[in-house]
């Protein structure tokens, strides 16, 4: 048997460097020479070995599992005397021998797996065995510990709170430097979007610029945290997590009423409801002792899954699908564990068995519900919301347009537990009709056992989630909030904390914040506040090409991140800065502008609506100017502009959006009537205010839209464009009038059409700038 000679030292040195970038991990292996199981080894074992030598027994080869220390050390069952790992003895460890082999019949992973190891990875595995081959529990399943934040010399950077201590320590170790604070204009824009999803008003910016008190920034932060727009911004995020939609999502895709639940979420964020209560009500509001209507409404979280109304479906098949969706959502939303992988077989990477999956599923299986729901019927169970509720417990609902009299009611899907309604089973291969072993509600014990005495229902499940010994809950939410504030989670895969997920970039910081979050009564605003007050948050986002080479994803946060804002922020910016924004909170979703014919292309049926809505009817009045989180979400034909800017489809729980840059996005910003109308309205308004002074108008518009004062050369460029277009439109008033004809808002007749059109396009140019759509 041919064996490769071991890699030469020089190669090792270079590949190690690659590895360290590859895993975005601590430099420990390089600096101390000590290899860390969780950071250096487990990612390799999990990704390349566990599929056949991991938790799933059905696929396990040679009866060897490498996810458990004892099993990896033991003599191989079919080859006694041979050990996969013999601590300290790489030459006698079958694992090392095989990963180093090039013999296709002997090497691991085998060629047919389509998996392979690079030299650096092979080296790490060998070195690790040499150092004793020690195992550690997966980081996310160990309880977070609050370690003392590292001390930072005042020369090494500005420290405002503990976050900075952890961040600067790593920045320094990376050979980088903390960046200076962003200028005030950029800072206020950043904080305003991050906290409220809206741009700062000019007045607010003015005040901030003039305020030289040391706590000027803190004052701004607190006013934004107190603004009702704060609740809307975070609800916008939560709607992705909750897979919120305004329609049922399959086939005919009929409308549903879920917005009262969405209104409750806004209220909860604005009241700063503690996270444990926020989640408990949503998971199990109906099971709380003497549950009131508000708590019942909160439980609608579990009913945001899609529902089929396709004639001909097998009822039970779809009912099972809904229960599974609730269990999957629970796993991803609150634990960042991909439970759904265990539906058909034991998890291949994480210690979740198929039985664990269906035991969790059993918590969500006790509803009187059907898989098939007749068109136009509200799926059971539901609650009735009447006029009396609007005057009482549910007075936060914006339902006056729907419930006008005593007779009107809203039927809102919620949870209603019927204990003992049906048994739960392991479903073989996940199939609805392949009943296996019977199961009762239980949690994945590999994470934490359910305390004796806790009820085995969703309420007990919530209590388990918030048990101080649960290693996941606080970390998961801290990481999500970090992601929304800094642009990237401390664990980049905010949806997966399992073996296949990424490793935390700053594990001690994540743990510190997680413990702190719990110790502070799960206070979300307090956590957000800490993050945005940090010096780390306030840094400038300017970064040299050299720095970008070293840390292209800005993992170490030596500067602030710059990235494209989400679709809601981009559109809301146009609405807010043009003055069109309708700030009304809550209520039924609305239908703003959308290109003609999109629904018609794929819908069927007639005006009765029995087969769903056949045509999209744009709302009237100022309903089209509501914030984007209120845009009607039809799941099979979602708003195209929002999809173009990477909104998820809202079919399943999503916790992180992708950020792409495409030509279709450019087309939206160039030709979406909403952006054109905002440009037109703002142009007219400013031209009137400035008595036709074009330069001042451009300056004002630039400031409104980008929150910063334009430089003279920038105004020059725009003014050149304006002047040329003005001349052109003066000679062609017909075209000027045509270009102005966009949107519902009345055309201001006080301004000459040529001026209005030329300025409209000038302002639209500003709306199209990369700066305008970026968080920086």
């Amino acid at each position: 048997m041919k064996r490769i000679s071991f890699v030469i030292a020089g190669l090792v040195a270079t590949t190690l460097l690659i590895v360290s970038c590859f895993h975005k991990k601590d430099e420990s292996a390089q600096t101390s020479g000590l290899i860390d199981f969780n950071f250096d080894i487990k990612p390799i074992l999990s990704d390349r070995c566990f599929k056949c030598h991991g938790p799933d027994p059905n696929n396990r080869k040679a009866d060897l599992r490498l996810d458990i220390e004892a099993n990896a050390y033991a003599a191989l069952k079919n080859n006694p005397g041979v050990h996969a790992i013999l601590p300290g003895k790489p030459d006698q460890s079958e694992l090392v021998k095989r990963v180093l082999s090039t013999d296709p019949l002997y090497m691991m992973p085998p060629p047919e797996s389509n998996l392979s190891l690079n030299d650096a990875e092979k080296y790490l595995l060998k070195k690790w065995v040499e150092q004793g081959g020690k195992y550690k529990k997966h980081w996310a399943f160990l309880l977070p510990q609050k370690v003392k934040p590292p001390a930072i010399d005042s020369d090494d950077g500005v420290v405002i709170n503990e976050i900075d201590q952890f961040i600067i320590e790593r920045v320094l170790r990376k050979g980088l430097k903390q960046s200076k604070e962003a200028d005030k204009e950029r800072l206020i824009r950043r904080i305003s979007f991050d906290l409220t999803g809206l741009p700062p008003s000019v007045a607010m910016t003015e005040k901030f610029l003039k305020d030289n008190r040391p706590n000027a920034y803190e004052i701004i932060v607190d006013s934004l945290l107190a603004s009702p727009a704060y609740g809307e911004r975070w609800t916008n995020y939560w709607l992705d997590v909750a897979r919120y939609g305004d329609t049922h999502g399959y086939q005919d895709d009929l409308p549903r009423v879920m917005w009262p639940w969405r209104d409750w979420v806004i209220k909860a964020f604005n009241e700063n409801m503690p996270y444990d209560k926020f989640v408990t009500w949503q998971l199990a509001g109906d099971l709380l002792p003497d549950a009131n209507k508000e708590q019942l409404l909160a439980s609608a979280f579990n009913r945001n899954h899609k529902i089929s109304q396709e004639g001909g479906i097998v009822d039970e098949e779809y009912r099972v699908e809904y229960v599974a969706d609730r269990a999957n959502t629970f796993g991803k939303a609150f634990m960042s564990i991909s439970m759904e992988c265990s539906r058909c077989h034991d998890h291949k990477y994480d210690p979740i068995t198929q039985k664990d999956y269906f035991s969790l599923y059993a918590f969500f299986n006790n509803l009187k519900e059907t898989g098939f729901v007749l068109n136009l019927r509200t799926p059971e169970p539901y609650m009735r919301i009447s006029k009396r509720d609007l005057e009482g417990e549910l007075k936060f609902l914006n339902a006056n347009k729907v419930i006008k009299s005593e007779k009107d009611t809203i039927l809102q899907m919620v949870m209603k537990e019927v204990p003992g309604i049906r048994k739960s089973y392991v479903l073989n291969r996940g199939a609805y009709d392949a009943h296996g072993e019977e199961v009762t509600p239980d949690v994945p014990n590999s994470i934490l056992a359910l305390k004796p005495g806790l009820p085995r229902n969703r309420l007990g499940l919530s209590q388990w989630l918030f048990d101080e010994n649960n290693p996941l809950t606080a970390r998961v939410m801290v990481n999500r909030i970090w992601q929304e504030i800094f642009g990237r989670g401390l664990v980049a895969t905010s949806e997966d904390f399992g073996n296949q997920g990424s490793i935390p970039s700053h594990p001690e910081l994540l743990d510190w914040l997680a413990v702190d979050f719990r110790e502070n009564g799960w206070d979300m605003k307090k956590l957000v506040r800490k993050m945005v007050l940090s010096a780390t948050y306030r840094q400038s986002s300017v970064a040299s090409p050299e720095l970008r080479e070293i840390d292209p994803d800005n993992i170490y946060l030596s500067h602030s991140s710059r990235y494209r804002m989400n679709s809601e922020m981009i559109r809301d910016n146009a609405l807010a800065t043009s003055g069109l924004l309708n700030k009304e909170i809550g209520g039924p979703s609305v239908k703003p502008y959308q290109p003609e014919g999109i629904w018609e292309d794929v819908s069927v049926g007639d005006k009765s609506g029995y087969r769903g809505e056949t045509s999209y009817i744009i709302d009237t009045g100022n309903l089209v100017y509501r914030r984007s989180l209120y845009t009607y979400w039809r799941r099979t034909v979602p708003p195209p502009a929002m999809i173009t800017f990477d909104n998820p489809m809202k079919e399943i729980c999503e916790v992180r959006r992708t950020r792409t840059s495409t030509p279709l996005q450019a087309l939206v910003l160039l030709n979406d009537p909403q952006i054109m109308e905002a440009s037109r309205v703002l142009a007219a308004k400013l031209l009137v205010n400035n008595k036709g002074n074009s330069r001042q108008t451009i300056t004002d518009a630039f400031r409104l839209i980008t929150s910063r004062t334009a430089k003279a050369n920038e105004v020059d460029m725009l003014e050149q464009f304006y002047t040329a277009e003005l001349v052109k439109y003066q000679q062609d008033l017909k075209s000027a009038n045509a270009v102005l004809k966009t949107g519902h808002h009345k055309i201001d007749s006080r301004i000459n059409a040529a001026n209005a059109a030329a300025m409209m396009l000038t302002i639209q140019t500003i709306y199209n700038l990369d700066e305008t759509i970026s968080r920086s």
């Binding site: 970008r548 292209p552 710059r562 069927v604 450019a666 990369d770």
Partner: protein, 482 residues
Amino acid sequence: MEKEILEQKLNVNRRHFLSKLSLGIGGAALGSLLIPDLFGKPEEDKLPAGISHFAPRAKRVIYLFQSGAPSQLDLFDYKPLLNKMQGQDLPASIRMGQRLTGMTSGQKEFPLAGSLFKFNQYGESRAWVSELMPYTSKIVDKICFVKSMHTEAINHDPAVTFFQTGSQQPGRPSMGSWLSYGLGSENKNLPGFCVFLSRGKGNIQPLASRIWGSGFLDSVHQGVQFRSAKDPVLYLQDPEGLDKVTRRKMLDKIAELNHLQLEEFQDPEIATRIAQYEMAYRMQTSVPEVMDINDEPEHVFKLYGPDSMKSGTFAANCIQARRLAERGVRFVQLYHMGWDQHGSLPRDIRNLSKDTDQPSAALIMDLEQRGLLDDTLVIWGGEFGRTNYCQGKLSVDDYGRDHHPRCFTVWMAGAGVKPGFVYGETDEFGYNVVKDPVHVHDFQATVMHLLGINHEKLIFKHQGRRYRLTDVSGKVVNDLFT
């Protein structure tokens, strides 16, 4: 000078992009719509793992999806026994208790329904085709029938999703998205995955835009719907009163101002943004140009039939598909809706066949004449088949058929697929496959193979799991290749 600076920034961006790429197992897409100017055609050494395992026979695909599921028993899968046994109950020995849809599971009897339409054998291959498809019958020697397709889903939404994404549950990328991800686009002015919809007179089932969505792949890989409306691609058309000169000037200003930001922040994403605006501008010209079929000669419209003059019809879309194929678009997907014939099948299937027969055959001939059939794969078929027994009342000249996942027929042509070939067989009842079954995943693996892709190797890691179009199965049907 300025151009040089831009080039330099773009290079930084490219390095950044590639360094990101090395982090994912399957890598990210290349040569896609994303940064077409930067990548052009994929380079050999930077391809995602699955590429060029085999010499590709197909460079592009035109998929004529027949939404609603055409009845194989009335079009291609000739079963005279059904006519002989007309009205008799489907023997239990054949059905073997298989699950039925909720629409016929309540039926007490399952009366066999022979086709009302005459079948004949055509061409040198002697393939059976019914009188509903007179044009297709003339090209049987150019196409390959797979009569042994079978699927797992019995309802439209999951079945279409399964065919397009390899999973019945939504959330995964469509076939065209996978190919865009794996192979990129050959035309820097057009998207790599284009979608057209049309509908016939019949029972139409709605479609969801997610079936041409990119799932967890970047949204640059999602299918771009081309429409017959005045805006052929959403938001493409400039508003009235804004001419090309103004648009160009506006884009120049946007670029100039973005450059200032680029200098300040040195963020390569700004350079990408600038490039995307240029691509958008090019699309504003290239898309209307490809959509305007007025420059097609008279004989082309004659070939595709009278409907081809009407925009938005399946026939017109077939001409569009050929035009996009000529321009190197990787994946063109047509959906023709209306094949769901639970009742009044004879009436509706006449309409739907008429919609698709002539243009589909014309497309094959047209591609062949232009030398494009050699490297263009054309696929014709629905999401499942239809039952051999009648749904509802069976009469002398009327019947309906329910969904049937256990066997159905699709045809393929071009790009290394055996012409004049019939693959697979069903039993004499047309109920079960008896020879050479082809599962949906096998079909997908085969299509990918023709494009030079090993379906087991074109993967994308998402939430810790490696995903591929064929999920965990799929066998290439080598017998279909020349």
